[in-house]
Symmetry: D3
Subunit: 158 residues, 6 copies
């Protein structure tokens, strides 16, 4: 059977696809983003007494995952059972990963991808006074489990 | 004067910074994102009678720009006077640009960056049945005008 | 000059149109909706000790007016200076009118129309246990003032 | 047993009614709205290179269905398994229908009705530059299945 | 085992905790708030022909319960099966109680607490023209049922 | 002139009051809340490697201030020029203060009060595993400036 673009029905019209007949199963997804920044900006990150830009980015990413179906027009509303956002400070910037889980009829990859994207944008917002050239890259899905299509794992994931 | 991380006050606590004394001026920003996809997926994009994934991504990006202050914790609420999202289909994927404008006390770069990010995520969502390896990259600010810091233009912007 | 569909730019792409160069002026709009219901349902409306379905519909309409730019994709965000929703119980149902006002660069007709629509849907929701055949009709703009196009007043408005 | 207004408890106070003891069953609803417009406006609809006002209205209707419990104060939050919005261009205007489905303890008629109402308001918003006299009418429930009250089908539905 | 702050994982990072392995059970919570106001303000409450400040506060509290996971960053999204808000006019002010119920993997105490808090703030908003010294106090959990930790009942609850 | 309940018009109907004729002036407000908790819970607050419950509460409070007009039905939408939330750890619990500022036609006291209330609820949510008896109290306005009614300062504010 030929693969089709997501969210289009047989007549070619867009819809929030009918998942009524799909099984409720446990589903997880892990996504990644990278915020490239100069060593000067990286060094400035922990340089304040209270709070840390990454902690605020973490909260922003978790909150955004819960808003995914409001942001991506054809996403189903999923009751998330877990969301976490983690950071790894590397030489050229900050690596952001997010995990999301649900028990639902459809997958959570958009929730994990939305979490890393908004966390990365929040890091940008917190550091933009130091450098307007910061860039977000490598937003991709690392892993996905559950549902009929089974496990997906990205090759050569950084 | 030494530059500081955005949104931190003199005591080092995070806040939505006080812009009460700033001038209301016209401000614009242009941002960019790139959705890298295989030629097969690019060819599938217009392949449906009604609607087009890019049109849905455009609406998603415009709507997201209006939600920026709900997504990025320390962003001010700005009454946008203009938002547009445009696409350029290239060899290796789709280039997304967004323009945002306001008359306000603070800049609109986060609004433009949020628009391209959510438009790119929506393209991902519409095409993910064809290829889970799609990647979003090169999210950056192209240009910014208005406000005390004046015009910023990215060097070598693609 | 030929009139064009709203929200399309010169290239035919949809956008939140640029109103940067428009004047901030006082603008008002009045909209109307009619909820047709049987005399039995009308008689049941005030039949409860605390609260009244119309009071809940009023709050729903006012709250919805504030959400207009989240619901109608290309609407600008307007800081409303006034919203009111009123009801007139007639023979065949309930007439709903909403007034909205702002000082902004673009009109408030969508805000007034959204207020009457959601108020009418709330009346439906509060009474649907009694009659599923209730119908909403005659949603239209009664009057609009302010802005370059001046005053509009519907002919033969009920 | 005497029928009561929806959402009122035994003491006459309004509440989000307790459905804890109801069964989770598959539920569907179909709703209708009609946007009356002149032949000139109908002819202008497809008259632009990119995008189509009806496609934007479709997205707005689907997105609004997911927001129903935020708009209608006493509606329960339902995880929709399907939403679609369709248009039929007729002589005097555009007929809008929406289908919604869920597996839940309460029905989805408000979701389908909200979808057609916001889709219709979006058509209004996209065409209002051509004609301010456009009217929305015939918002009603066509069909409802699932739950204890069983199937409802409107008589003489257009 | 040593008790830990809520929402922190083993590494000490904050997350929306993983409840994937918890059972879906019926859960309820009752919360309380008190709005202290002068006898003059209490007497003014019913003094208007249409509507009543407490009815508006009731709707605000019910609506807010549905928004809890948008307000409290690490709260899970719960499909509420019931929310009610009640008022008791006492000598020194108004006692507010809210009940919430769900069938979910985690408890509804934050939903009940959010409902009483926003209902109390709405009473403040409706009466602040009469007295700016109004105070909200005694926001606490009265009772909680369901889940592994079983029943909690506050001692000496007023 | 006799004082009236806020938000009621001359006919006694509730509305979002018309502020069209009011002046846009700078307005500020400071509000307070107190989260009473046992010394054991207070000692546990900083006891985790990354993040701090109070930092999360701060973000929640700032974000909630921006949502005030969605939570309090008759509040106007205000473009906030500043929001900050601060904590003072005392013997019996945590004192929360929030400052809000705007340039608008109506005051920001509800924004400051919403910020302290949601910040306090978030502290509750982060610590509830340790003690369900935590109580929020002393939510009140400390100070208000701007607008026709001038400066208000609470007597004997703690």
């Amino acid at each position: 059977m030929k693969k089709r673009l997501s969210h289009y029905d047989a007549k070619g019209a867009v819809s929030m696809v009918d998942v009524s007949d799909k099984q409720v199963t446990d589903r997880t997804a892990i996504a990644h983003a990278f915020v490239r920044m100069s060593p000067e900006v990286i060094r400035a990150l922990p340089d304040n007494k209270k709070g840390n830009p990454l902690e605020i980015a973490r909260i922003a990413g978790i909150s955004a995952a819960k808003k995914t179906s409001e942001l991506i027009p054809l996403c189903h509303q999923l009751p998330l059972t877990h969301v976490s956002v983690d950071f790894d400070i590397r030489k050229g910037g900050i690596s952001v990963t997010a995990q999301a889980a649900t028990a639902a009829r459809t997958g959570v990859e958009m929730e994990a991808l939305t979490a890393v994207s908004i966390a990365a944008l929040t890091i940008y917002d917190m550091t933009k006074a130091l450098d307007k050239g910061i860039e977000i890259r490598d937003i991709h899905l690392i892993e996905k489990t559950g549902g009929k299509s089974g496990v997906y794992r990205r090759k050569n994931s950084k």
